[in-house]
């Protein structure tokens, strides 16, 4: 594993009032790596992602993007976010823009590309998620799965160094989950650096290079999927995996 560090979190702590969301989290994300974060709800996984692209401020700790500290005072946060793609649980497409315009907005307003060039790039990204034929549709005219794929295209268009996925399939009907996971698996194969919070254990197992198990605001353990699924070191990891596989109907022993 000699590939370079893209994102590095050092001793991150986030507290809301008296509520400790997570404490002392450290995480290294290497180039081309797909990391899946699993864990019970309310353990700070989503907040961690929001902190990594500075949508939420950490109380203490440091975050480095390609070796440069982005938690340092005076950092241009907009420039940082431009380099970190994010996909949300509830898609959050811009409702007043077509699929194509959703993908183009960042290109024309942030990257300042000329319109025609932006359009071409946006069409490319829409093709990449299999939605070139839906370019002129508004979000309300798309299924949830299609909306999420447009959201992925919108993030990809900015050529991010790393993509953060915050439970990208949790709001989807079961029959639409596959198309989104398919796009994400393809991205992983294309060596996109990805950090994914999800409850999709099948995806975690097949696509992840590393799985991180988080509970109650800290990382309990992490490792390669097979190690973590076959030989979890902690009782809590075992319990969680057992519960979630039971829930999803796969009665294989953890």
């Amino acid at each position: 594993m000699a590939s370079s560090l893209i994102l590095q979190a050092k001793n991150l702590t986030k507290i809301y009032g008296e509520n400790v969301i997570f404490r002392d989290i450290s995480l290294d994300v290497r180039k081309g790596e797909t990391i899946v974060i699993i864990g019970p709800s309310g353990t700070g996984k989503s907040t961690l992602l929001r902190c990594l692209n500075l949508l939420t401020r950490v109380n203490s700790g440091q975050i480095f993007l390609e070796g440069r500290e982005i938690t340092a005072p005076g950092t241009n946060e907009d420039q940082v976010r431009e380099q970190i793609g994010m996909v949300f649980q509830n898609f959050l497409l811009f409702n007043h823009l077509t699929a194509l315009e959703n993908v183009m907005l960042g290109l024309t307003k942030v990257k300042k590309l000329p319109k025609e060039q932006a359009r071409q790039k946006a069409m490319q990204e829409l093709s990449r998620v299999g939605l070139a034929d839906r370019a002129g549709h508004y979000p309300a005219q798309l299924s949830g799965g299609q909306q999420q794929r447009v959201a992925i295209a919108r993030a990809l268009a900015m050529d991010p160094k790393v993509m953060l996925f915050d439970e990208p399939t949790s709001a989807l009907d079961p029959e639409l989950i596959g198309e989104v996971l398919g796009v994400m698996a393809q991205l992983a194969r294309d060596n996109m650096t990805m950090l994914v919070v999800t409850h999709e254990m099948g995806f975690a197992r097949e696509v992840a290079d590393r799985i991180v198990f988080m509970e109650k605001g800290s990382i309990v353990e992490q490792g390669a999927p097979d190690d973590l699924f076959e030989r979890p070191q902690h009782a809590r990891t075992r319990e969680f995996l057992w519960k979630i596989t039971e829930l999803y109907g796969k009665k294989e022993k953890p």
Binding site: Q83, N90, L92, H96, G106
Partner: protein, 215 residues
């Protein structure tokens, strides 16, 4: 004689429209600014905007009109009754327009801002390209209501001596002794103006509506 009678009132229509066309956009400009400060400003800025709205909406428009009129055409600034009246009416309306836009901005939802920031847009860019286009669509129906209120409230500048529809109707009523004809004609003109305004804004709302059905 009747045609003279009517044309005298109709001449006031131009003044009424002019007062409304000054008051409404002026109120929109200030209302929008206040709504943005209320939703996105820091605590003190937001609170000040809230207090402004509370005060302006808590007093009858005619009382505010007199107070503002004596400020705007006093010693420091000396505007004509027409301008002082129109701008005062705009200030009164700004508080209501602020409330309309504040609601619309909130209805767009925080998620849209988050998504916009996540691709690297600045706060101002996010407001301009993502939040406002959606908020304005939501605001058109309630704004249409406010537009007709300002149109009708423009009759208040009558009290400052501006020769708009109501002032002329009053004069005619006094000189001809035909109050029903005079005020009836005024009422009819107001109704037509309000009706047309609402129709035009309904059309605008329909035109800018986002498609929801599959194409």
């Amino acid at each position: 004689m009747l045609s003279n009678f009517l044309s005298y009132i109709v001449q006031g229509t131009g003044v009424t429209i002019a007062v409304t066309l000054i008051a409404l956009p002026f109120g929109l400009l200030i209302g929008l600014l206040l709504a943005l400060l209320y939703n996105y400003g820091n605590r003190w800025v937001a609170r000040s905007a809230g207090i402004y709205s509370l005060l302006m909406r808590g007093v009858p428009p005619i009382v505010l009109l007199f107070i503002l009129y004596f400020i705007l055409s006093g010693r420091l600034i000396n505007l004509s009754p027409f301008w002082a009246g129109s701008l005062s009416l705009g200030l009164v309306s700004s508080a209501y327009q602020m409330e309309i836009l504040r609601g619309a901005l909130a209805a767009v939802g925080a998620g849209q801002m988050t998504a916009a920031r996540a691709i690297g847009l600045t706060r101002l860019q996010a407001i301009r390209y993502v939040i406002l286009p959606q908020a304005i669509r939501l605001a058109i129906p309630p704004w249409s209501n406010e537009a007709s209120i300002v149109l009708k409230d423009s009759s208040l500048v009558y009290a400052l001596g501006v020769p708009e529809i109501l002032r002329r109707a009053q004069q005619l009523s006094a000189t001809t002794g035909q109050p029903f004809l005079a005020f009836g004609a005024a009422a009819l003109i107001y109704f037509c103006l309000v009706f047309l305004t609402n129709r035009a804004l309904d059309y605008l709302a329909e035109k800018t509506k986002l498609p929801t059905q599959p194409v």
